[in-house]
């Protein structure tokens, strides 16, 4: 489909192109680059926590706080969002049989905001933690780091709104008239859902960022209690965006699994309708549960119950996705190539992360787990275990289509075993650390808490395994782009070829040149 890297083209032709596959390539590579950068920060944090009181690698708490802040922001805004947008750019126009995205120039503009926003986040290196709770972020966080972060996030938020508008218009208005919406492949449905969610959710955060900025400049006091403001208002505005945002990160990964699972099971999808239903349900219910991040802020009992119900209501729809995957695989002739391994691993970890989420949403249990390493483990099981697994699966799947060469299955196997092992070891252990009472975002912990020391060391070794596996991923990508064996472009994974590939869809107006 897209043989950009095989064609000897100067790099600026890709950079200044507005064609959807070129923008997609830029998005994907940017996302992966930031994944590695933020991954290094994560390894620094874990290595630092190996011994209490030693100050390994990071010798002062201010730097530590800056590192976990930038790690979180980068993984969410500069890996998860751009990578999903990249795969969306590759596949959505093809899936709806249109020649390009609806607004190609807007598409390129939306992409180029990412490196700019990323530069602001990394040059500022703020210490507010990624949630930037007021009033810390207003009255205590050192500038200009926090201000640069606010501007960076502002730019990334606009980029995300622009690309969402583009996806919505492409799918709803540019879809081929012969293709009913219900037959649009589920990956495009996931992108449609998250784009609509972004348009509803993001403005709240955009507003709170501006309010944060004017508060910091001292011209307003929205969140500053000494000027008559209320920090709880910030929390509501923030989580109204970022609980739906959880699904905005998650659903594209689920959509990618919908691309991979039927194909590698060599069976048609169990139910298109239930997949669509579950996406739309999650898209709506995602807005009903932001308050579960705020149980302990002094929320009254009734409000807590309402948000608990809203949270629990998201579980059946997630369960329907898992059921759909399992029912599709059931009785299939599964070919466990790298994309399938990562997709299945991602489903298994999605299930365990979801089970942990049910426990979290129960109010009395939330008071044990909230703000501890339990939550760190829980959300990383989603972010690494589900989202990164889905994205990595898709990266391996797209590799031959993008480069014309096959990745090394051997290196991919090592990557899979290491990533699966590491993810389980580091994030399951962090759940236990949370039950032992270890708070999040702490630079150091007392050496006499021996259970904390042991569990931290187990988690750190897990993180090294996880990080090590990504060295094999990087080596595989670099080696195979140049030296991988030529892929059989009709059927790179040897699946038999009679299964539907999006790029084979009849598309008279699609550029076939590249």
């Amino acid at each position: 489909m897209v043989l950009e890297l095989r064609k000897p083209r100067p790099v600026w032709q890709i950079m200044f192109s507005t064609h959807h596959t070129d923008v997609a390539l830029l998005y994907t590579i940017t996302g992966l680059a930031f994944l590695f950068m933020a991954g290094v920060l994560a390894l620094m944090i874990r290595t630092h926590l190996f011994f209490p009181g030693q100050g390994i690698l990071i010798s002062d708490p201010a730097t530590f706080n800056r590192i976990f802040t930038v790690h979180g922001l980068t993984m969410l805004f500069l890996f998860a969002l751009p990578f999903a947008a990249g795969i969306g750019n590759y596949l959505v126009p093809i899936m709806v049989r249109y020649k390009d995205m609806a607004y190609p120039k807007l598409n390129a503009v939306a992409f180029w905001m990412n490196p700019i926003g990323g530069a602001l986040l990394w040059l500022g290196f703020s210490d507010t933690s990624w949630v930037s709770y007021a009033p810390y972020s207003v009255i205590r966080a050192p500038g200009p780091a926090a201000d640069m972060m606010i501007f960076g996030l502002k730019i990334l938020g606009i980029s995300s709104i622009l690309s969402s508008i583009n996806f919505v218009v492409t799918i709803l208005k540019c879809k081929h008239p012969d293709l009913p919406l219900r037959q649009v492949p589920l990956f495009a449905w996931s992108i449609l859902t998250v784009s609509l969610m972004t348009l509803v959710a993001m403005p709240s955060y955009a507003a709170s960022l501006i309010m944060l900025l004017t508060d910091r400049l001292g011209v307003s006091g929205f969140f500053n209690p000494s000027a008559g403001g209320d920090p709880i208002a910030y929390l509501h505005l923030f989580w109204f965006t970022f609980h739906p945002e959880v699904y905005i990160f998650l659903l594209p990964a689920i959509g990618m699994m919908y691309e991979l699972i039927p194909r590698f099971s060599r069976k048609p999808l169990f139910s298109q309708a239930s997949g669509i239903f579950a996406f739309v349900m999650l898209g709506l219910i995602g807005f009903a549960s932001w308050g579960h991040h705020m149980y302990s802020t002094g929320m009254d009992f009734t409000t807590k119950v309402v948000f608990m119900i809203g949270t629990l209501a998201a579980v059946p729809a997630s369960g329907m996705h898992v059921f759909n995957f399992l029912a599709t695989m059931w009785g299939g002739r599964i070919r466990f190539a790298a994309p399938m391994k990562f997709a299945v691993g991602g489903i298994a970890l999605f299930f365990s992360a979801g089970a942990g989420g049910v426990l979290n949403s129960a109010m009395p249990l939330d008071f044990i787990t909230h703000g501890t390493y339990w939550v760190v483990g829980h959300m990383h099981l989603f972010l690494t275990g589900t989202i990164a697994f889905g994205f990595v699966a898709m990266a391996y799947y797209m590799f031959p289509f993008i480069t014309g060469r096959m990745y090394s299955e051997k290196l991919a196997n090592i990557h899979f075993v290491g990533m699966m092992w590491g993810t389980v070891q580091v994030f399951f252990t962090q759940h236990l650390l949370g039950l032992e009472g270890m708070a999040r975002r702490i630079y150091d912990y007392p050496a006499e808490y021996t259970s904390w020391v042991e569990l931290n060391q187990i988690a750190t070794v897990g993180a090294w395994i996880l990080g090590g596996s990504f060295v094999f991923f990087l080596a595989n990508l670099i080696y195979s782009v140049a030296k991988g064996k030529e892929a059989n472009m009709d059927d790179p994974f040897g699946l038999g070829g009679k299964y539907y590939y999006p790029y084979q869809a009849k598309n008279p107006t699609h550029h076939t040149g590249y």
């Binding site: 708490p61 201010a62 706080n65 210490d127 933690s129 709770y133 007021a134 009033p135 810390y136 009255i139 205590r140 209690p225 000494s226 403001g229 209320d230 920090p231 709880i232 169990f270 139910s271 239930s274 302990s296 802020t297 002094g298 009992f301 807590k304 119950v305 608990m308 119900i309 629990l312 209501a313 579980v315 059946p316 369960g319 329907m320 059921f323 029912a327 049910v358 426990l359 949403s361 129960a362 109010m363 009395p364 249990l365 008071f367 044990i368 909230h370 703000g371 501890t372 032992e436 009472g437 708070a439 999040r440 975002r441 702490i442 630079y443 150091d444 912990y445 007392p446």
Partner: protein, 141 residues
């Protein structure tokens, strides 16, 4: 069993589990939030980066809090500068200290000894050392 039946059974089981979780946590949380009428009020103030306490008789303490076994205590939680979170992990006492708000939590210690107190909401450079100790002594009365 048809395709749809299997899926509906699966979704039904999931909903039943959720229903159980929801009802049970409703009951437990309702019970946990009921503050006994005879609870003694302790004022807790969080600031960068230590906890201070005030007993009903006016005695003030910093970092270390002395309480008696078998009594019920109600915490009134204040914050001076930024958000903190008052937490005694061993007794699941956990409530945010929000500037401009007063939050409440209560507990009744059943064992004598020393228990850690910590801050569980990120509050800056000293967040990690915003620790204290709860000392539970034998009841004097």
């Amino acid at each position: 069993m048809g395709h749809d039946t299997a899926e509906w059974v699966f979704v039904g089981i999931v909903i039943a589990i959720l229903f159980y979780v929801g009802v049970d946590s409703w009951i437990v949380q309702k019970a946990v939030e009921e503050i006994p009428a005879d609870a003694e009020t302790i004022k807790v103030t969080g600031q960068q980066w230590f906890w201070s306490f005030e007993h009903p008789d006016g005695t003030k303490e910093k970092i270390t809090l002395h309480l008696q076994k078998g009594h019920a205590y109600k915490f009134e939680i204040y914050a001076k500068d930024v958000m903190h979170s008052f937490n005694i992990p061993d007794y699941v006492v956990f409530e945010d200290a929000v500037p401009g708000h007063v939050n409440h939590a209560w507990f009744s210690p059943e064992q004598t000894g020393e228990f850690p107190i910590q801050c569980r909401e990120y509050c800056g450079i000293g967040h990690y050392q915003m620790r204290g100790t709860l000392v539970v002594e034998e009841s004097k009365s």
